[in-house]
Amino acid sequence: MPDKPKVAFYWCASCGGCEEAVVDLAEDILKVVEAVDIVLWPVAMDFKKADVEARPDKSIVAGFINGAIRTSEQEEWVRMLRRKCQVVVSFGACANSGGIPALANQFQKESILKYVYEDCPGMDNPGKTRPQPESKDEGRTLTLPEFRGMVRSLDQVIEVDYYLPGCPPTPKIIMAAVQALLSGKLPPKGTVLSPDIALCEECKRKDSKPADLALTEFKRPHQIQIDPEKCLLAQGLVCMGPATRGGCEALCPAGNMACTGCFGPTSRVKDQGAKFVSSVFSNIAPKEEKEIDAVLDGIPDPIGTFYRYGLSKCLLRRKLQ
């Protein structure tokens, strides 16, 4: 019996949610385990870096890498995995577009470290000591990975073959991806493994959206009693559904919460945040500057809202000094 195709799971700047998603496959995980031979999965199995390095290049059929890239260690791992794997799948929003961690790209490295190690509430660090990349301890040298200047998506570090969108990707599209990989019937390189159509397609609330929507204000979720039936954007909530790829079966709107855009844009859009702005503000009601500004004030943190999972993929990549 030819030995089973090897797959690897790895995580970088990640919250572990993507690992959860794999586990969420529930019984299907057994089908996966039967079909493949998992050779790396830090959260679940104790393979060491040396074990992976010992493997010949391209010996692993597919590598599922989630989490954004912030440290030199993560860079090293993903470059090594790129060598070892035939196919690298960018797994989840952090890997695809920087995810929540990339929101840190609005701050300079020094201000982050200063806040974390000196200014944040409860910090008692009079000496202002900071973790050093290299430090001596009783004759031994301790090293730490480099804290990079910005958070990057996976494909800004290595070449990526496929993308599994979502925060986290839903078990359904994970399963579909694994089966496609095993069957060898793969779409062209660079494809996002989820339907290339916006989320409203699958949203139950679509019919309640009026055809002449002209918002006069935006609301935050805690400010209104959300009607479980009606279109969330029509209720004045910032729902990124129209500008976000489908495939998640509109889980969040079904859970009475506006879509926050985690599946990323469709293939025809270069910058999800800019495109959403182009669409949703085209038809707010006011025509005068002052009144327009009043409506815009309903969204206090535009960058955090429109690039919640995708600041690394914003065309400007990062806030300037």
Partner: protein
């Protein structure tokens, strides 16, 4: 003559008003700075904020958007959509550290040739004072921090052993 920084500004002009005003400025032989290259769109409402960000990302030091005065749009309301989008885009540009003055929205009617000259000269002067934005250069500079490790890992791939790299 010291090499003065010459900003590169990309402009989107609506065909019916601002593009025609620019033609009028030409026919009237008005003289203005050569730093602005114009892309013609049928209405300022066709300009997608992605175009503005893409222009900056590709090296523009400034982006100018010209449309008809509110109420004058050849398509009745196109410029209101422009105003709404661009008010929010201005906030996002500020949030991403791009100085105001680099992106500019101007209403210029088909008869205002001299306003095209005034706006282009004024914007060129202001952007020159702000200095180069040069995002492509900054992108390369930001990614330099990965070069050393990348070279190191690729070097190892030949010999197969691993060492920690800084």
């Amino acid at each position: 003559m010291n090499e003065q920084f010459e900003p590169k500004i990309v402009a989107f002009f609506c065909n019916w008003c601002t593009y025609t005003a620019a033609d009028l400025a030409g026919v009237s032989r008005l003289k203005y700075a050569p730093n602005v290259s114009v892309i013609r769109v049928m209405c300022s409402g066709r300009v997608d904020p992605q175009f503005v960000l893409d222009a900056f990302a590709r090296g523009a030091d400034g982006v100018l958007l010209g449309g008809c005065h509110p109420g004058d749009c050849h398509y009745a309301e196109g410029n209101y959509k422009t105003l709404r989008r661009m008010r929010m885009l201005e906030r996002m540009l500020k949030g991403m550290g791009i100085h105001d003055g680099r992106f500019r929205l101007e209403w210029i009617s088909g008869a205002e040739g001299d306003k095209v000259k005034a706006v282009i000269n004024d914007m060129t002067k202001k952007v020159r004072a702000l200095g180069p934005l040069d995002l492509p250069g900054k992108f390369k500079e930001w990614d330099k921090e990965m070069e050393e490790l990348e070279a190191h890992v690729n070097k190892d791939s030949k010999k197969g052993e691993t060492t920690h790299a800084r």
